[in-house]
Amino acid sequence: MAEGTHRRFSVRRMPGFTSIAMLTFAMLYGPIVILVIYAFNAGESVALWEGFSLRWFVTAWDNTQVQEATFRSLIVAGAASLTATVLATMAALGTTRTRPYPGSLVIYALINQPLMVPEIVTAVALLIVFAMIKIATGYSGLIFLIAAHAAFCVPFAYLPIRARLEGMNLDYETAAADLYAPPWQVFRRVTLPLMAPGIVAGAMLAFVISLDDVVITEFVKSAGQDTLPTYMLGQLRRMVTPEVNAISTALLGVTVVLLTAFFVLNRQRR
């Protein structure tokens, strides 16, 4: 009581809020930490600790299914994020630093559409359309997955690029044009280098989003086209060994590295 009245009254303090916040952070990280710890378990179980070992990382590394799924994930994410970034860059150039023009709202709505529609709905719609095309053409390669991924990655690549462009005024480009630089050179030497951080950020976001996708991949993939997440989803139905933990830990590592790089890039911008 005495101590309480002596403490300076803070208008910001809310009793209990700090405890709940700590509980939240413990909840957010606890399960992930346990998951990572058991990836290093020497035993067969994801519940009983039997000592430290890297055997499950080795097992996962040697598993041809995991290798193929990883390779496929990287190809799809690479191709999709590249496509999405190029298209999003062009679209951003056509929709920023300009007054609203006929149809600009339509373009904006279409680009952001994948953010608004539940994944399962897009997945089912793609299943319907791609099934038709697959039957009609007899082709069932990776292009379908790449196209689907590229489409839902467009808004994720577009938003950082657009944000970057909106923060750039036209002075440098005007100066370059005044010095008789042809439009292409203005773009190549002035606009592109200035918007580069936005493009890199957009590409990284698109890559992570594609790498993480489960739902759309699950419905669009043809037989034998598992990506790492759909492979893991399939594994969860069976006896789970720490191999899944090891794969998760590796994926987690990639996400954290990319995310940290993203934050650092964004910070340098300011």
Binding site: A47, V86, M90, P118, V121, V124, V129, L252
Partner: protein, 295 residues
């Protein structure tokens, strides 16, 4: 604006629009068409107009005598989806509000670090996070073994594959979606107003209820919508933690394209889900527009 500039803008946007029309928006329209066709024998559709797909969203037709009854199984799933999504929103708000408040009241330099800690789970693969929860609550998991070690229970409680485990999983995976917009609102909160309320002898509860919550209402609405929408369409979490019997709408939709072999019904269910999400989004946009007018 010059005509040439408009044309240039459209040309720049065209490749992206073509991709999105081919692999996002266009297929949605075809799904609408599929919802009014007849199901094929094994999969796909027969190109004949039929209202059966939509009819079956809510009703069952007896295969022998054509009597019509309500599709109880579907209603149960709709109810579960709606109630679990609302409860997810409620619990994420309950945990997320104090968390966002805590972050917003840290010194400026610490805030970025706390925010980064919220962002990491946000960008971590949803499947990995769901799997992490699964390991904690499974029969041999740490939750049960801790309770048993404490002597609170004798045998493991079945936590996995229940509605409660789906709820816990959704709260866990969608929590960052609540904290981030709440923080954005709380960050701009003018604490002089809070101080003024205390000066006028308001209690902490009164300050929270009458000053802080009304001021950050846009953030609360934004966070709630951002949690509610993906919850309603959740697929991975109920599939992994619900174990097949605690289905939500997404899993019911998947069933129609698999064992159910009723693509028109599946398409009709998808469009129903989309319609509900659109209603929630319109509500959100109007709330935001209203706030901008007032602010």
């Amino acid at each position: 604006m010059r005509r040439a500039e408009i044309r240039r803008n459209w040309l720049l946007a065209t490749p992206a629009l073509i991709l999105l029309l081919a692999a996002a928006s266009g297929p949605l329209l075809i799904a609408v068409v599929y919802s009014v066709l007849e199901p094929g024998d094994y999969s796909g559709v027969v190109w004949k107009l039929s209202g059966e797909g939509w009819f079956r969203v809510l009703f069952n037709r007896d295969i022998f005598d054509d009597t019509v009854s309500l599709a109880d199984a579907h209603l149960t799933i709709f109810w579960r989806s709606a109630s679990l999504s609302l409860m997810t929103t409620f619990f994420t708000l309950l945990l997320g509000f104090p968390t966002a408040y805590f972050i917003a009241t840290r010194p400026l330099r610490q805030r970025m670090l706390w925010l980064f800690l919220v962002t990491i789970p946000f960008w971590t693969n949803l499947l990995i996070r769901t799997f992490a929860i699964m390991e904690v609550i499974r029969n041999e998991g740490i939750a049960n073994s801790t309770l048993m070690a404490l002597g609170l229970i004798d045998a493991p409680i079945q936590m996995l594959y229940t509605d409660a485990s789906v709820l816990a999983g959704m709260v866990y995976v969608y929590l960052p979606l609540m904290v981030l917009p709440l923080y954005a609102s709380l960050d701009r909160l003018d604490f002089r107003l809070v101080e003024a309320a205390y000066d006028l002898y308001a209690s902490r509860i009164a300050v929270l209820r009458r000053v802080i919550i009304p001021l950050v209402k846009p953030g609360i609405v934004a966070g709630s919508i951002l949690v509610f929408i993906p919850s309603l369409g959740a697929y991975v979490t109920p599939r992994v933690l619900g174990g097949g019997k605690n289905m939500m709408i997404s899993n019911l939709i998947e069933l129609q394209f698999g064992e159910g072999r009723n693509w028109p019904l599946g398409a009709a269910l998808s469009i129903t889900l989309l319609a509900f999400v659109m209603v929630a989004l319109i509500f959100y946009v109007r709330n935001m527009a209203g706030e901008q007018r007032n602010g």
